[in-house]
């Protein structure tokens, strides 16, 4: 099982880098968004209620990371849907491996990619003057939350692909990523959000994931936001993995 997961994970990760048209949006879109937001909205840090930050870029890094991780989840879903459409998925199903390894292999690649996505935005941030308040340990915490959250988003993508069985349907959820993200505290502090978005953001796990990754960047590592971020990311991951495995079983049972 482990050997199959590693082999399939390596393959999925390698293929991601061989599809620049899939890889580029994962970093290009959020990077552009980050540049536009920081350039146009940097004065919001002076608003009453805005947390003390070194700069707006520091605050926005977590939003860019969350956005990128969500897009990574969509990308994972599209990749597996393309395998279903092209028949390669059947080849894997016909192999003598535990079938759950097909899902776990894909998610292992998504997790590895999530680490790289987080590192990318930390690097971009540092290059353009951001400070990581919690230093190297903080970076590790951000990567950890990012990896867990990325795995969860990837599992959502995989679940959708296994249900929809075609890439265009999975691609169709792309706009939804932005909607879900905007009704969280990823881009602005929850206290500054107007009703009813502030109420929605309170129950949106993306708020806790973004705040958990943000905390080590803008302050020291505080237990509450980091643990809440980890719990939200872990919760999303656990539920989504369970649902994607169930979707796989349903698909195989219906075959």
């Amino acid at each position: 099982m482990t050997r199959a997961v590693v082999a399939l994970g390596r393959r999925a990760l390698r293929n991601t880098f061989r599809r620049p048209q899939f890889l580029a949006p994962l970093v290009a879109f959020p990077s552009l968004f980050l540049a536009v937001n920081v350039g146009g909205l940097h004065r919001t840090t002076t608003l009453p209620g805005f947390p003390a930050v070194h700069g707006f870029l520091d605050f926005q890094l977590a939003a860019a990371m969350t956005q990128s991780l969500l897009l990574g989840g969509v990308s994972s879903g599209i990749a597996i849907a393309l395998e279903i459409e092209g028949g390669f998925f059947d080849r894997l199903v016909a192999s003598p491996i535990p079938r759950v390894a097909i899902v776990l292999g894909r998610l292992a690649a998504t997790a590895a990619l999530a680490c790289l996505q987080v590192v990318w935005f930390i690097a971009v941030g540092l290059i353009f003057g951001a400070h990581i308040a919690a230093g190297a340990p903080g970076v590790l915490v951000v990567i950890l939350i990012g990896a867990v959250a990325g795995t969860g988003f990837g599992a959502i993508g995989v679940m959708l692909a296994l249900r929809a069985r075609n890439a265009s349907t999975v691609q169709g959820i792309f706009p939804l990523v932005f909607v879900v993200l905007f009704v969280s505290s990823a881009f602005f502090p929850r206290d500054l959000l107007a009703s009813p978005v502030d109420a929605i953001a309170r129950y949106n796990p993306l708020s806790y994931i973004a705040d958990g990754m943000r905390d080590p960047i803008i302050s020291s590592i505080s237990a509450a936001p980091v643990l809440e971020g980890l719990a939200a990311a872990g919760g999303v991951a656990l539920v989504a993995i369970a649902l994607s495995v169930a979707a796989l079983r349903t698909r195989l049972r219906e075959a």
Binding site: R3, A4, A7, L8, R11, R14, N15, R18, R19, E83, G86, G87, F88, D90, R91, L92, V93, A94, S95, P96, I97, R253, A255
Partner: protein, 329 residues
Amino acid sequence: MAAIETTDLRRSFKGGIHAVRGIDIAVQRGEVYGFLGPNGAGKSTTVRMLVTLLRPTGGSARVAGHDVATEPDAVRRKIGVALQDAALDGLMTGRELMELQATLHGIAPADVAPRARRLLDRVGLTDAQERRVATYSGGMRRRLDLAMALVHAPEVLFLDEPTTGLDPVSRLTLWEEIRRLKANGTTVFLTTQYLEEADQLADRVGIINQGVIVAEGTPAYLKAQVGRPHLDLTFAGSEPDLERARDVLVRFGDHRPASEGCHLSIALQDGAGEIAPVVRALDDAGLQVASLELVQPTLDDVFVEKTGRHLEGAAEPRETAEAPPAVVT
């Protein structure tokens, strides 16, 4: 014990489509079994059940001694599968795909690379092994697909239309490999739309039509069952009076669907000795024959007799307008 054995195997889909309606097959170890049928006859559905990709909705099937429904893992360990259209990952190189397949089949890590190399060499892809599969020709993809199916030396090999769309040279190369596998004792379940392929390679042939086996036996046995040769006739002129020709010819034998390039075809009741009377009768009726050909029985004749139509796509039935509709699989 048979390598493949099905009993009343059935598969239905939503909407009341009965793709496979109860088939009984017994393929012996080391046998090459040709599975013939037109598009939509139920070939691929049957194969997908035998390789555990589809659950049967009725009956049972055992492959390599294991039940496909209750012991699918054991079946998968013992079979090699090359499905229709060679579903390969175009982003990977030939070597990477071979090594992945070997790993998924539990080949010891130290043996993965040498085994991949050996098989790539065997199918003539050593020079192309570091190229991405997306750049391979159709023939190369098929050969790679076959090599991948062989990576764990399977007891039973399923080849689903392995030469469809290939050029003649690539087809012959694959035929040679299948012969070599047979010589090594591998059981091969070969689905094909090409009668010549079945004739050349198969020890026995099963013909499936509308989800049921309509004929089974060695190619020689099946051809002997048809027995009589048939006469293909092409008439002179741009608009020959085929109705009148039919009326004349019906005295000499049954009409059969004409193959491409001829106008009418009849199964002669009394064999070659009737050619001269046929020509005389047509001449007396004022019908001018441009060419005629006496054709000995082929698997196509078997197919026509059993299903009322030709197998290969180019020769659609002209005589049997009521040819049975295909079942979507």
